[in-house]
Every structure is written in C-alpha cells, then in structure tokens.
C-alpha cells in the first residue's frame, strides 16, 4: 500500500518536468484554439539538431565502448521491435472493425521509435541524474528498422503469397528508409562521433541547445496531438484503445527485457529505462513515409493519427513511470 503511494507521489513529481509540461501546454493551447504556430523550417532545424546531437553523443561513446556489452542490448532492441509488431498484428487483427493493412501499419509504427520521445527520455533522465550507457541511444535504429521491415513484410505477405519477389524490394526499402532525412541525420551524427573529434562543437552547441530545442519540439508535438484527434475520431475506436494501452504494454516489455539484460550483464538502470522508453514510443517523424510508400493501401490517417494523437503523448507521459519503476525495482 505504502509502496503504491510512494510510487504515485514520485510519479506526480515527475510530471512537473518542463519537458512534459511543454507537451501538455501545447495540447492545452490547441484545445483553446490558439493561433500560435511553430514555423516549419524551425521545426526541421530542431529535429536536425536533436538527431545530430543524439547521434554524435552515441558515436563518441561507441569509440570507447566494449563491443560485447553492446551485443545483448542491440539484439534485445531488435527483438523488441519485431515482437511488438507481431503482437500488434495479432491483437489488432482479432478485431473485426480493423482492416488488416491498417492494423499492420499501426503495429509497425508502434514497434518503431520516436525521436522526440527518445530525446525527452534522455533529458528527463539527465535532469534526474539517472545515468545510462552513453551509447544507449544508438539502439534506436536497431529497434526502428526491424519493426518497420516486419510490418512491410507482413503486409506484403497478406497481399501475395509469393515469397521471392519481395525479398529484393526489401533491400531497396532499407536503403530508401536510411536515406530519409531523420535516419541520415542520426547516422551522420554517429559517424561523426565515431571517426572525428566533435567534442568542442558538441559541448559548445549541440549539448547546450538540446534541452531548449526539445522544449519547443514538445510544444509542436502537443499541438499536433490535439489537432490530429479530430481526424482520428472518424475511425474505429479500437485504435484509441490500442494507442492508450500499447505504449504501456510495450514499455513494460522493454523494461522486462532490459531488466534481464541488467541481471545478465550489468546493463545500467538508465539503460533499462531507455530501452523501455524506446519500446513504448511510436514513430511519428521518420516511420510514416516509409510505411506510406511500402503499404500504400493502408489508411495513413489511421496509423499516423493513432501514433501522433495518442501513442506519442502516452509514451512521453509514461517516461516518469519507467524511471519510478527503475528506482523502486533496480535500486539505483
């Protein structure tokens, strides 16, 4: 009982974090009909700087990291991406009102990773002094790409039962998705961190701006979440339920797997939380165009709406949950 109360108290304190406050602020503004707008070029600049920063930080850490310590978390991330998509496909397609391709695409987005949620997780953990392996954000593509590919393969399977053709197209889908703005920025950052010495510019620019630019991104995500709700209202209610519960289930899966890796290899509590945050998150910037191209018959309003309007806010607000859990369970 007292544990539950402690948990609730800790959780409520966490909700006051500025990162989440900006998210809620954006929602409230949109709900009140504010005409405030963030210019698109600024939004793109924010995402670019966040991705370069995340990539560079991870790349610099990878230089010094023990490859063996990386192996298990990377495999775990990939497994999570796959399992979440399969789970979503099975769950959503049980329901008669769900078109098969819409369900698969939605599951794909929820298996993939959100930049904004990952960045928010990093900032909130740093504010709380919860340390993680500095290379942990590099797990992003390991979870993101398998999830999207799994969804695409499932969709192709659903359409045709011929197994040879798609395999070829898969490779071109991978390279095409790596060429997208978001993933290229992340990978460029990682490469720069690995092979050059970006420390001075990292410390003087990318690191100090990170938190502030994220606060503006949270504003955008909040306003967008509210705006897309209207579009979502027209589709099956089951998506709303999925959007609410999936981040929690996926985060718990991520936490559990991270915990296992923690016990096995001493993966840090912060790393466990990061795995949970990535699993809980659903892609809203880089995943959608990949799915639109690869599964054109799926209704984009459904999967984007579910992810942006419900999945992402729930995932963001669940960050303190995983941290509180880590604090209580992993004795940090």
């Amino acid at each position: 009982m007292s544990v539950a109360l402690d948990f609730l108290a800790l959780f409520l304190t966490q909700l006051q974090k500025p990162t989440l406050a900006f998210l809620l602020g954006g929602m409230v503004l949109a709900a009140l009909g504010s005409r405030l707008e963030i210019p698109d070029p600024i939004y793109q600049f924010i995402v670019l700087v966040l991705l370069l920063k995340i990539g560079m930080g991870a790349g610099m850490a990878l230089r010094a990291a023990d490859p063996v310590a990386l192996l298990l978390p990377a495999l775990g991330a990939a497994a999570l991406g796959l399992v979440i998509v399969l789970l979503g496909r099975v769950t959503l397609c049980l329901i008669s009102s769900v078109r098969r391709e819409d369900g698969i695409a939605t599951a794909g987005l929820f298996g993939a990773v959100s930049v904004s949620t990952l960045a928010a997780g990093m900032v909130i953990m740093e504010e709380d002094g919860l340390a993680y392996e500095a290379w942990a954000p590099a797990l992003y593509p390991f979870m993101d790409i398998p999830a999207l590919l799994a969804a695409i393969v499932l969709a192709q399977r659903a359409r045709t039962r011929s197994g040879s053709g798609p395999r070829m197209r898969l490779l071109s889908l991978i390279t095409d998705s790596l060429r997208g703005g978001a993933l290229s920025a992340l990978l460029l950052g990682m490469a720069l961190g690995l092979v050059s010495r970006p420390d001075p510019v990292f410390d003087s620019f990318y690191e100090p701006l990170f938190r502030g630019l994220l606060s503006l991104l949270m504003l955008v995500m909040g306003m967008e979440a509210f705006a897309r709700l209207a579009e979502l209202r027209r589709v099956a209610h089951v998506y709303a339920v999925y959007g609410l519960l999936a981040p929690l289930v996926h985060g718990a899966l991520g936490f559990a797997l991270g915990w296992a890796i923690h016990l096995a290899t001493g993966f840090s509590p912060g790393g466990v939380v990061m795995l949970a945050v990535m699993a809980a998150s659903s892609s809203d910037v880089s995943g959608p165009p990949t799915l639109r191209v690869a599964i054109p018959s799926a209704n984009a309003a459904v999967y984007i709406g579910t992810s942006t309007s419900i999945g992402t806010p729930v995932a963001l607000l669940s960050i303190p949950l995983w941290m509180t859990l880590a604090e209580m369970v992993l004795q940090t």
């Binding site: 707008e37 939004y43 997208g180 955008v220 910037v285 959608p288 191209v293 309003a301 984007i304």
Partner: protein, 104 residues
C-alpha cells in the same frame, strides 16, 4: 508574338517529388517550377507554413509549361493513373500563351 501552350499543374505530397520529376525528365521536358504550399482534401489537412511533422507529407505544386498538348495529356494521364494512383493530390491543365516560345 505569343505562342499557345498548355500549363500542366500537379499537386502532390513531397513524397512523390522524385517520381514526378523522373516522369517529366523522361518526357524530355525543358523545365518546370515547384511551389511549396498546403491544403485540405479527403486526406485531411496539410499545413503550409506551420510545422508539418512529416516532411514528406508536405504539399508541393508543379507548374509545367509545354507546347505539346498531346504530351501534356499523356503525362496527366500517367500521373493520375500510375504515380498518384492511391495517393493524395490532383492534376489539371490550362491553356496559356508563352513568350520565347522557342524555349519549350
């Protein structure tokens, strides 16, 4: 002084920019213009100046001036039937009169 020509207007998401450009190039066109915008349609709202979460879903408008009416119609047909088949967007033709007709 002026030469009759046709203007082909194509509204699509940025996602399709490479495909549309490839098609225009294959048709041997001398040039085209692109204007960023936004809009509303059966696929919901596309913001024009405010943050559009997914860059590839922003709206762009191609304006292509060419003298060969038949080619314009063939391009329009191919765009709507193949490139934009299940995708948002629209295509229309207009009669215009160009100067420096030799350019086209």
């Amino acid at each position: 002084m002026t030469t009759p020509a046709v203007k082909l207007t194509i509204i699509v998401e940025r996602l399709l920019k490479p495909q549309v450009e490839r098609l225009l190039q294959q048709a041997g066109l001398a040039g085209w213009s692109i204007f960023p915008g936004g809009g509303r349609g059966t696929h919901g709202i596309h913001r024009s100046q405010a943050a559009q979460l997914v860059r590839e879903f922003a709206i762009i408008k191609f304006e292509v001036v060419l003298r060969d009416r038949a080619k314009a119609e063939a391009l329009a047909q191919e765009l709507t039937q193949d490139v934009m088949a299940e995708q948002p967007g629209l295509v229309w033709l207009e009669n215009v009169e160009v100067l420096r007709g030799a350019k086209f």
